[in-house]
Symmetry: C2
Subunit: 327 residues, 2 copies
C-alpha cells in the first residue's frame, strides 16, 4: 500500500485537522468532535450530512453558505456514532430545526436515527432524507434497498439553496424526498480502493477487467467484463439509467464523479460521450458537473448520475453560488 | 494500461469537447482550434497560458473572469504549436495587449516565442512571463534551467486579478516576474503516470519506493528512498524549499497539489503536517489551497508550493472570487 499518511489509525483525525486549518475562513471544527461546521450562522433550517470518511471531498467539502451547515466524519468507510451526529445537529440548529441527509447504509440509518432521538430530547426538531440513488443493485453488502452515492451531493446543493432561501423543515423534508426520487447513479470501477487500516485492495480486478455497479465502499456490482472504450461505458450507464425511469426524462442534470484515482482528463472524455448519447436520445441537459465529489479513497473509476429536471426549477438551486471548499 | 478513453490519439480532442460542452456558461472553443476561451469579454489585458495536456485542470480549468482569458491545449505532454498559441493571443486581445504565462520547457518557450512574433505582425502587443518554480533540479529532461510546475496556477490567479483590475501590459509583466521569483515548488512521486499513446508508466518505482523531485512529465527527481510517513515527506519538502529562499519568508501562501492519482484525504493529511512545520519555523501562512490543480495524468504523488507573501498584498488577489471551472 502506497499512501501519503502517518499512522493509518490517525488518518481521519489528521485529515480533519488539515481541512479546518486549510480553510479557516469557511469552516471550523466543533470542539472535541468529528464535526466540521460552517462559520457563518444564518437563521435557517440546519442541514447536515456525513458518513464514513474516504469519500472526500464529501461531505466536509460541501459545508458552507448555501450547502451544508455541518458534516460528520466517521472512521474510514464507517458510520459516525450517534453522539457525533447529535453534536452536528446541535451545531446546525438555529432554532428552526435540522434536516439530516443520510446515505442509505444500514449503519448510517441506525446511527442518524438514534441521533435524531437524542436531539428530540433537547427539543430540536429533526427530519431526515435518505438518499438511495445507486440503481446498480438492490440490497448490497451494507445496505437494505439501494445504496446512497454521488447523487447525494446534488441533494445537498438543492436543499442547501432552499434552506438559505427560508424553506421550513417540513418543506425541506418534502423537497428532499422529491429530489431523491429523481436521481439515479451507477458506477464503474477499474481498480479497487485500499482502506488504510487494511492495507490491500478491497477486491481484485484483472489488468484488463472492469466492474459495473461497484459501490463506493467496494461493494460488488452487477457485471465484470473486459475494459471497454469510454463510449461503451457511457452507453451501458446511460442506457441503464434512462431505462430505470418510469417515464423518460425530457430534461436532466448530469454529474460525472471521479472515484479518487481517476484524473479529470478521463472524466471529461467520458462526459463527452455521455452528452453525445443524451443528445441522440433527445434528452436535454441543462446542468452538468464533472469532478471528484464523492470518492472511494484511491479507487479508479467513476460514476454517472442523472437527475430528472423535467418540470422543476432546480437548475437555479444547482447553479447558485455557494461558499464551500469543494463545490 | 487502464484508462477511461476511446482512441488514445483522440483523447485531447474528446476531453476538450467534454470541457466546453460541460461548462458552456463559462467557456467556449475558438473555432477550428485547440483553444478554450472565456465567454465574457472585458476591456483588459488578455492573459493566456497553456502547454501540453495531461495536467488537468490546468490550464483550461482556470479560464474565466478573474483568471485566464484563454488556454491552449497541446497534445499530451507536448507543447502547443505556434499557430495555436497565436490563435489564443488573437482571441484574448481586447486592444490592450496580451500576457502569456509560459512554463519553462524548451518546446514551450520556443513555440510561445514564435507565436509572439506572429502576433506582433498583427500589431498585438505581447509580453511573456516564464514560470520556473520547481527547485528540485536544474536542467531537466525538457528544460534548460528549472521546470515550471504547480506554482504556475498562483501566477494565473494573481495576474488574473490584476488584469481585471486594469493593470497595463507592462505592469502585468513586471508583477508576473516579481511573483515568479517568490514561488518555489517540489514534488514527490509514488507512482509514475502512463501516457495514453505510450501505454506503460514513464518510469518504475518499487512497491515501497518514492522519488523526490519528479517533474510533471515524469522527469527524474533528486532522490529515491523507501516510502516515508507524511510527516517525513513534509519535512523534506518544507526544509528544502525554505532553505532555498535567500531570506526566510515571514509570511507565505501554501499550495498542496495532487498529481491526479492521489485522493484529497492524503493531500489534507499532508498539508496538516506542512502547516505544523511552518508553525514551528515561525512562518505565518495567510493563504492555503489544496487539490488537483496541475496534475500529471494518473501519477500518484503531490507537490508542495510556497509563495513568499512577506510585504506583498497578493493575498487579496489569491482569495478574490473568480468564475472558472476549477479554481
Amino acid at each position: 500500500m502506497k499512501k501519503i499518511m502517518n499512522e493509518p489509525g490517525m488518518i481521519v483525525e489528521e485529515m480533519l485537522e488539515g481541512i479546518v486549518k486549510s480553510y479557516p475562513e469557511l469552516v471550523h471544527r466543533v470542539e472535541d468532535s468529528r464535526v466540521i461546521a460552517k462559520n457563518q450562522e444564518q437563521k435557517q433550517v440546519g442541514l447536515i450530512s456525513g458518513g464514513g470518511s474516504g469519500h472526500e471531498p464529501a461531505h466536509a467539502g460541501f459545508v458552507g453558505e448555501g450547502m451544508l451547515s455541518a458534516a460528520i466524519l466517521g472512521d474510514v468507510f464507517t458510520s459516525p456514532t450517534p453522539d457525533q451526529i447529535h453534536t452536528a445537529i446541535k451545531a446546525a440548529d438555529q432554532g428552526e430545526g435540522v434536516l439530516m441527509v443520510v446515505k442509505n447504509y444500514t449503519g448510517d440509518i441506525l446511527n442518524f436515527d438514534m441521533a435524531k432521538d437524542l436531539a428530540e430530547m433537547d427539543d430540536i426538531a429533526v427530519e431526515q432524507v435518505v438518499v438511495d440513488d445507486d440503481i446498480a443493485v438492490e440490497n448490497s453488502t451494507y445496505t437494505a434497498g439501494k445504496r446512497g452515492v454521488a447523487g447525494t451531493i446534488l441533494v445537498h446543493k438543492i436543499l442547501g439553496d432552499a434552506a438559505r432561501n427560508g424553506a421550513s423543515l417540513s418543506e425541506l423534508k418534502e423537497l428532499g424526498d422529491q429530489v431523491v426520487a429523481t436521481i439515479k447513479t451507477i458506477g464503474v470501477a477499474l481498480k479497487a480502493a485500499t482502506v488504510p487500516e487494511v492495507g490491500k485492495p478491497g477486491f481484485e480486478l484483472a489488468e484488463d477487467e472492469i466492474e459495473y455497479g461497484v459501490g463506493i465502499h467496494g461493494e460488488p456490482g452487477y457485471r465484470r467484463e473486459k475494459l471497454q472504450p469510454s463510449k461503451e461505458l457511457a452507453k451501458e450507464l446511460v442506457t441503464k439509467i434512462l431505462s430505470d425511469y418510469t417515464e423518460k426524462p425530457k430534461e436532466v442534470g448530469v454529474l460525472v464523479n471521479g472515484m479518487g484515482g481517476t484524473p479529470l482528463m478521463e472524466q471529461f472524455v467520458f462526459i463527452n460521450d455521455v452528452l453525445g448519447l443524451l443528445e441522440e436520445a433527445e434528452v436535454s441537459v441543462t446542468f452538468k458537473k464533472v469532478g471528484d465529489l464523492m470518492t472511494s479513497l484511491d479507487m479508479q473509476g467513476l460514476s454517472l448520475t442523472l437527475i430528472d429536471l423535467t418540470a422543476t426549477n432546480w437548475q437555479t438551486a444547482l447553479t447558485s453560488d455557494v461558499q464551500t471548499i469543494s463545490w
